[in-house]
Structures are given as structure tokens and as C-alpha cells.
Symmetry: C2
Subunit: 423 residues, 2 copies
């Protein structure tokens, strides 16, 4: 790159007001009191949101297609066959969602393309923007459905045949809203993929920092534990004769906290759900059902955490004279993002003199699916108080402007880079 | 007592078959599948049960009156004004009750009186049998209502005005079943009171023993704890940033077990109820509501247990950054039974060569109310597997025979004793 081009790029900034305007405009579709959004995938509000975003994509000159799982893919024109630098995210929300989750990655990506176009700057590689279908998975599971099919990890036919609680299929609902497209899924294979997203956690906000580069996503293990003890009178049953399912549930819950500390290095561990029976003040509980949520970015350590949990449970069951059955509800592998792309993000931040924090994502994102087919990473900006999936979700406009700037800088750098590539 | 009289008394045994027959006959009224009973106080089935038992009481020659709270009191005739040795219990049951709880104390007492009458033996003091109203307190609270009013610890007018969930009063329902009597409550003041009861706990059954002498009843402290933390994502929230209401609930639950062990000497402590919100696998719980049930026979130690619990809670709330509000649901004093009466029970067992275990009652009984107006104690016999308030409640006929024998021997000894009295 010439010095002139470099100076022009340094002067280039996305239009923060336009981003804010588009976030606000999109949030009115399915808008909730308090500023939130309910735009469930494949509903009429989803259609209205898609229509709006697709019209913006066409307005900035992208060639837009809809694929057979409803993903909306726009590519800068006239560069057929060249692998683009792709941005994007999703615009569907949970039932009590916010206006930033997903939407920001799409609208900021759009603004990157528009800003470059307005400045008359073209990049060596083309750019692309994608709106993935049904990331939230509220009515139709699995979540991240559009990116899963895009990456080839879920078969198109299977995804289309998924039904909701009322027996409606994905295919029928996609067709009903006019987004059962005819483009083949995944036809545009990106050279690299970058997703800008709100953190949906408290780390940046608490630290008073603005930028995170996401190095990895946690693997997740969910186990349901079913404890069967003996119900008895809380007054007449001596302590040493008890087989107390509530006590066993509590022992596991406190162990899980110690386990996180022992494994360390980012291990998180949560008992979020406890059901007791008969659940009365003066009766020793007969049954307890609890869930354990373990997450780690290192699969070997996650497996070690599971192993220690199971050993603890088996020993506790013997000591307390109860039975504990367990059922695996979810088990996913951690994802390591591309050091090439994370390096580009870090360099972009450095050029702007912005500190950037290396982070792990505790939530799932479309980028983790795309990471299996192209070098991928994510940029995080703060969520106030870590709140997300809630109408109170909020990110400061100044932070959005910084996130969009680093997205632009990273994408341009990736698009113009011809050095050692591939993560 | 002469040697002759002593030998006659040693040969005297209640009629075990008659006791069994009467237990079975009474259990058919409000009978449940599986052998249990539903005879809620002041219902039509209660009336039928009362009619049957009152007819048996008259058949054995007792002068029977019904007092103004519905207690049925029968006294051996012709001894007006003399303080009797009183036996008795209750015949109302919980909704899914057994046939032994309460009923045994009444029917065995009846058999003691009938056995003595058949043998032509009279005692120095008269004997009395009482059927107390509404011991279970299912529809109308407080429980032990009849004996509470009998002992003067609850005013008659207040008891009669108590309403059930439908606004019906005790007075109206007692009147409807024909048991709003006209005898003054507590007019017959016993010289001593003895209640035979099933243990309703596992101690005798597990130990393979048959007889218990109840020395005391536990004082009870029930506290509800309301924990308010912060709900957050189980993946994105680092362990050190959590204010996890489920963890706090679990810490208290495991502490309560340690507390019982530290206080010792019969301290029991139970968390039987835990409610979490939102109670989901992947969300750190915001709210928890738990109950703590503490019981001890020593009031100072019970207060010490409460004190340590509160200190632990206050410290934990600070450490975890949550608030914990507490509400006292129940607080009763322990009851110490009369050493005079427990001594008589122990002597009676010794004379029969029966080992007898000193016990604490973890459940409430009419005897604890009567203990405030007369020397009182209780005899326990085993509950199979400690099960009670359940159709599966069961006590072996051979154990019932032994219990009734010791009741008879104790009552006769009390009725004929003129040595150092008064506990």
C-alpha cells in the first residue's frame, strides 16, 4: 500500500450517526416498550426487518441473493469468483431481546461498505455482508441455523424440515415470509470472516475498556443430575440416618464453584436450576434435579472438569446413600479463532492507539460456524452491566463508533493483505 | 400394694386382638386404598369416627362428656372430683394419613380401662381417657387445638372462631357434626397424663428396639431466607463477578448440616425447600428462597444454632454481594416431660424385662400441651421405616401389644402411687 493510500485510510471513519439511525429504525420493527425488540426468526416481523436490511444492502450497491435457508448474502459487484472478506451477523432476536445483539454486526458491516464506496476506495479483494437466518433458535432449533448450514455442519434438508412446537416447518415459514431463496447455501466462500458483536457479558464494561478481540469460544457441557434420596420427617430423623437429596444437591452446587477455581484458566461452572421434591419446610427432600453448566476454551480441561465432577458425584452418592443419575444435555467443542484474523484486529486497534483486550466468548455466535470454512475472528464492544437478551441491553454510541472503525480497518487490511495468510 | 395384688397385675395384659380389631374398624371410616386413612377434623368422617369411639367408651362404662371444643372426655364413674390418671390422644388424621398416628393412643387407653374392668381391678385414683379435637390442624390451625384449649394455652372463643380456607368456622363445623359440646373445657384436671404413640421416625425400627420413653420434645425454629443476587449469563460472566443466589442457597444448605454436627446433642437441621428464579441451566440465579428448620430439646442450644446461622448468613451475604432477608415462620420452646412419669414408664418396662430407650420427640403431640397442667410423658413404639403421615404407616401387632402393656402397667402404678409425686 502506498503512503498516500495509508493516509487516506487512516482518515476514513464509518458514519456513526447513520449506524445509530439504522439501529433505531430496525429496532422499531417488533419494537418493545423500554427499547427492546421481539423479532423471532421466520415471523412477519422478521420479514419486515429483512426487507428493510436487504433494501439498504441493495442501496449501497451490493449484489444481493437469498439462499435456500434464507441467509441474505450481498457481495460487492463485478468481482465474480473472487473470495471476499465477509462481515455479518444476524437480525433475529429472542422474545425479549435488545436492539444490538446481532443487528450491530450487520449494520456496522453495511456501513463499512458504504463508507468505502463513498470515499471511492476499492480493496484488492471484494467485500461481502451476510445476514444469517435464525441465530437465536427460539422457535426452531438448533440455534445458529443459517450459519450451520452455510458451513456445511447441518444439512439443508434437515434444517428445512425442523418443526416448531405447533408442527410448522422452517421451509413453510421461510416460504410464507418470502425468504425461501433459490441461491445455493455457502456458494460465496469467504477469504476471511469478521463479526462485530456486543460482548453480552460484563468484562469490558467493568474494566472500563472498549475493545475486545475474541480469541476463542468456550466448549459447553451441560449435565442434568437426578438425585434420589429418602423423604423423612425433619424433626424425628437423626442427622446420621438421612439420605437428603437437597443436601446432596447443595454439596454438588458448592463443589461446582470450587471446581471452577481448581481448573482455573477461564473455567466457568454454574448450577442454575434446582428442583426439589416434595420441597417442604419440614420434610427431608426425596428427589432433587439439578443442572450443571461447565464451559472452557480448552477441551482437555473441560473434559477434566467433567471427569472431576463425575468422580465427586459418585463418591458423594456412596457417602450419602443416594443414587445420582446423570444425563448429558449438551456437549460442544471449544472454537479457536484464526490468529491471522485476530492479529489483524489487534494491529488495527494499535494503529488507532486503542487498547484491546484478548477475550473468550461465553455465548455462541455465527462466526464460530464460519470459522470451520474460513479464517475468522470477532470484535467485541461493551454491553452496559453485561446485560443482553433483555430490553435493557445497551451499548454507548461512542463505543459503537469505535467498534465500527476497527471493523473497517480490519476488513480493509484483510482485503489488501497478500502476505502470509491462512490461519 | 400387696404381693397378691402385684402378682395379679403382672398377669394382666391388654387384649391385643381387640386393639387390632378396633384399629382396623376405625380405619375403615375415611379409609384409603393401601390401608391409610383420611379423617380430617370436623368433617363427616370425623363425626363417624367420634361416634364409634364414644360408643366404645360408653360400652366400657366410662362417663363420657363432650366439651365446648369437641374434646371427648371419659372418666371411670363414681369418683367425682378425684384427679384421674388420664390417657388419650387424637383420632383425626392428615389427608393421606395412616391408621396408627393418634388412634393407637386412644384405642390402647380404652383397652387398658376395659382390661382392668374385666379383671375386676380398681385403682386408687380414677382413670380417664380423652380424644382431643383437631390435633393435625389440616383445615383449621393451630394444630393440637383441642389440647391447647384444654391446657388453657389457647382461648376457647379464639379457637371456635378460627376459619378454614372457605371461611367456615370451627364452631360451625363442630356444630354441624354434633360435637360442639356443652361441658367446660379442661374441667377434669389429670393427676398425670400418659400418651402412647407411634414414633413417626426411624430410631426404634433401625435399632431393632420396641420401647421408647419420651423425655422431651424439641423446640422448633423455622426461618425463611430470601436471597437476592444478580442474574447473568452462565458463559460470559467470570466466576469472580458473580452474585449467584443458587450458590448462596447451597452454601447455607451445607452449612446447616455442619451446624447440626457442631451444636450436636440431638440438634437436627434441615433445608427442605429451595426455590430459584429464573431456575434455568444457563442463567445464574437471581433469586433464591429457602427454608431452614432447626430443632433442639435445649432452648439455649437452639438459640445458639439460630445465632450461628444468622452470623453465617450475614457474613456470606457480604462475601457474595447479595442480600439475604429472613423471616421467622415458627418458634416454639422445647418441652421437658415429667421425670416422675418417665420414671414410672421406665420402671414398668424393667418389671417386664423390656429394654427402653430414652427418646426425644421430633413431632408435636397433645401430651406437650397437657404437660403444662399435669405431670406428663409419652411411650413410643416403632414405626416401620420411620414412615408416618402416609398410608404406608405401619406398626407390628406384637409391638402394639407391648406398648399397650407398658401403658397399662404405668397407668396402674401412677394410679396407686402415693410416694413422692409431682415433677
Amino acid at each position: 500500500m502506498t503512503e498516500l493510500a495509508d493516509r487516506r485510510l487512516l482518515a476514513l471513519a464509518p458514519n456513526a450517526d447513520r449506524i445509530q439511525y439504522r439501529l433505531d429504525t430496525l429496532a422499531k420493527i417488533g419494537g418493545l416498550d423500554g427499547g427492546g425488540c421481539c423479532r423471532l426468526a421466520f415471523t412477519d416481523d422478521d420479514r419486515r426487518g429483512r426487507d428493510l436490511v436487504a433494501s439498504w444492502m441493495r442501496d449501497v450497491g451490493l449484489d444481493v441473493v437469498v439462499d435456500r435457508i434464507g441467509n441474505i448474502v450481498g457481495v460487492t459487484p463485478g468481482r465474480d469468483g473472487e473470495a471476499p472478506i465477509m462481515m455479518g451477523s444476524h437480525i433475529d432476536t429472542v422474545a425479549t431481546g435488545g436492539r444490538y445483539d446481532g443487528n450491530l454486526g450487520v449494520i456496522a458491516g453495511l456501513d463499512v461498505i458504504e463508507t468505502l464506496k463513498e470515499a471511492g476506495i476499492s480493496t484488492d479483494r471484494p467485500l461481502a455482508l451476510v445476514v444469517f437466518s435464525n441465530e437465536e433458535g427460539v422457535r426452531f432449533q438448533p440455534d445458529m441455523m443459517g450459519s450451520l448450514v452455510y458451513a456445511g455442519a447441518l444439512k439443508l434438508d434437515e434444517a428445512l424440515a425442523v418443526t416448531d412446537g405447533n408442527g410448522r416447518t422452517v421451509a413453510a415459514d421461510l416460504n410464507a415470509i418470502g425468504y425461501l431463496g433459490d441461491a445455493p447455501v455457502g456458494a460465496v466462500k469467504p477469504h476471511a470472516f469478521v463479526e462485530l458483536h456486543i460482548e453480552q457479558g460484563p468484562v469490558l464494561d467493568r474494566a472500563g475498556e472498549v475493545l475486545g478481540v475474541v480469541e476463542n469460544l468456550q466448549g459447553i457441557a451441560w449435565h442434568e443430575l437426578i438425585i434420589k434420596g429418602v423423604s423423612n420427617h425433619a424433626g424425628t430423623t437423626p442427622m446420621e440416618m438421612r439420605h437428603d437429596a437437597a443436601f446432596v444437591a447443595a454439596e454438588i452446587t458448592t463443589f461446582v464453584r470450587r471446581l471452577a477455581s481448581e481448573i482455573g484458566r477461564g473455567q466457568v461452572a454454574t448450577v442454575g436450576s434446582i428442583h426439589l421434591h416434595p420441597n417442604l419446610v419440614n420434610v427431608i427432600a426425596r428427589d432433587a434435579k439439578i443442572t450443571v453448566d461447565l464451559r472452557h476454551t480448552d477441551d482437555a480441561l473441560l473434559a477434566e472438569a467433567e471427569h472431576r465432577l463425575f468422580a465427586f458425584i459418585d463418591n458423594l452418592a456412596r457417602e450419602e446413600g443416594v443414587t445420582i443419575d446423570r444425563r448429558e444435555l449438551v456437549r460442544t467443542q471449544p472454537v479457536i479463532f484464526s490468529p491471522y484474523v485476530t492479529g489483524m484486529i489487534r494491529q488495527a486497534a494499535e494503529r488507532r492507539g486503542m487498547p484491546v483486550r484478548s477475550m473468550t466468548s461465553g455465548a455462541g455466535h455465527d462466526a464460530q460456524m464460519i470459522s470451520t470454512i474460513a479464517p475468522t475472528a470477532m470484535i467485541f464492544i461493551p454491553s452496559r452491566d453485561g446485560i443482553s437478551h433483555n430490553p435493557r441491553e445497551y451499548t454507548e454510541p461512542a463505543h459503537i463508533a469505535i467498534g465500527a472503525q476497527i471493523l473497517l480497518d480490519t476488513v480493509v487490511a484483510l482485503a489488501n493483505d497478500h502476505t502470509g495468510i491462512q490461519a
